[in-house]
Symmetry: C2
Subunit: 334 residues, 2 copies
């Protein structure tokens, strides 16, 4: 395992914590690394880079193609489509509130948003650029980027390091506050329906919070085994174990089927579910999680209550100005 | 021919018109059809539909994928990439200022923006939906669209007709005013450089304005033959005549190689050039147009002057708020 197994254990022991202290509203700001403090210029550059399809080999896919900032932060597909109609085995995680996780990618192999941002651009089945040297050459060929990088990082600063820093800085602004849940936690008792409150209690009672903890319901970057309980019937349907998760990277048998705990913020908007996107509805996802992780058979009513609660985790999407991407007057890079 | 041949002829006779009356700034508003007056609710709905990838079979391509509202209104590719990595033979025209043309598509087969909007969605090599019935069923399955259509068109109004009306209404707002050219025409003599003014004069003198006339430099929806002059050397390189233009639709020999006159607004941002996107730079495009349409061999200096002028047609892109697309809580359509 990479890290933070201890956090999971700590949270598993936290059953006795009172409701008042266990439930937390989403912070208005995300934590940022010491070597990449936020600035308006970085956010603006990052937003532009994030939406620029020229970061893909075909000039057709930007970060936003699979992590759509106009939707729930992903593409509602089981697997995203990369350049030349290629698909991988995992479902795009949402970019909204990703800043509240200490690790990125389903297998947590990136320790920061900066590290994560570097990945898809040169992944041959995603954005398909041959190398970051090629990406940097492309950015340098787009005149307007010189000034944008200069404002954010100083003179002659177009580089992989700064591009990913800018993208990460922008992503730290992608926070969805004021969900009904947040309003409730902040004292507005009318913000949740009776069913949602019942679902919230059930969610804690059966043990969902042992992993889906913290303000983003993601264990803040914890890892967990999935599925914990073997179930041949479900496995035949959903093939959860085909992908070994963390072990695919670490090659360590102890990491087999270990996964980053995904956020439940806006979970209603990010179907289909699980690392391989094999489960189409939130109802099924809740049923499966209870059975496979907690050994519980939930009644239809219990599932409906928990799903009602999870719908209360849909937040407000901040108003964003659409970026105007710098052009290449008189010619094209594609 | 569909229409407006007479306009082309009229403009060809207009050589004696004084500069003052021939050069026009871009209007702040586009004309709109009597049966689809603009409203804020239609613009908002149209913007959302325009950016919604669920209007494609794979859930990955929206109108904006090929007609990018963050760039020059297209994708800077010779040919766009549709669902399943398919490409057609024509280059995406820009959506910016398209409202100032009386016909749409390279072959002008759509008589309005409304008609145009209906096309790509069900084109099997573009957005790939099987039928507009399927599109409407999909829109009806996205809860938030009910209210958005209701605001724009009244109760239970989700239909192909209204979806394309909303998209067209949004497109009529995609206007880029205040280019250096516009400022110059409006009296600011410092808005153009000496080279740009020289290019502007050359542009008129050699006859470019005989087709590229009107405020959008598009003959307002005129048709013209391209190439007029046969040139085996260029044809071998660029294959302009492989596509028969209007005749591909009308099956009329008289329409062979007739094309809608494209706008020159923001032309610097929409490389590569011509109906098949075969020409990578604006310099080459100007050289070729002079030779093939006007029988003129331009000097390098003349080309540079005209290109400088064409760069002065790049306007201001309006600030837009990024739309928030309605979700399908708890499930997915893809």
């Amino acid at each position: 395992m990479f890290k933070i197994r201890s956090l999971v254990s700590a949270l598993m022991l936290a059953g006795s914590v009172s409701v008042a202290s266990a439930w937390e509203a989403l912070p208005a700001k995300a934590p940022e690394p010491a070597d990449n403090p936020s600035s308006e210029a970085k956010i603006e550059l990052g937003k532009i880079l994030y939406h620029d399809p020229r970061l893909s080999s075909t000039g057709t896919l930007s970060c936003a193609s699979c992590h759509n900032t106009m939707l729930g932060g992903e593409d509602n597909r089981a697997n995203s489509i990369g350049v030349h109609d290629q698909t991988g085995g995992r479902s795009s995680p949402t970019v909204w509130n990703a800043a509240f996780s200490k690790v990125q990618f389903w297998d947590g192999r990136a320790a920061s948003l900066e590290d994560q941002a570097a990945g898809p651009v040169t992944n041959p089945i995603e954005m398909g650029m041959k190398s970051w040297d090629d990406v940097v050459a492309r950015l340098k060929a787009i005149e307007g980027y010189q000034g944008l990088f200069e404002k954010a990082f100083g003179k002659d600063s177009i580089s992989k390091d700064n591009a990913t820093k800018a993208i990460a800085t922008y992503e730290r602004t992608l926070i969805t506050p004021n969900s009904p849940y947040d309003k409730y936690v902040n004292g507005d008792e009318s913000a949740l329906t009776a069913q949602q409150i019942s679902g919230m209690q059930k969610f804690q009672e059966i043990g969902c919070t042992s992993c889906h903890s913290g303000p983003a319901f993601n264990g803040e970057g914890a890892f967990q085994k999935f599925p914990i309980n073997s179930n041949g019937y479900f496995e035949a349907q959903y093939h959860f174990k085909k992908d070994k998760g963390v072990a695919e990277v670490s090659k360590n048998a102890a990491d087999e089927h270990m996964w980053k705990v995904p956020t439940l913020r806006n979970i209603a908007l990010t179907a289909p579910y699980f690392h391989n996107g094999s489960v189409k509805t939130l109802d099924s996802a809740v049923t499966l999680m209870a059975k496979l992780q907690l050994g519980k058979d939930l009644s239809k009513e219990e599932v409906a209550d928990i799903v009602a609660f999870l719908n209360a985790l849909t937040g407000e999407f901040p108003k964003q100005t659409m970026p105007v991407l710098p052009g290449t007057p008189g010619t094209t890079l594609n």
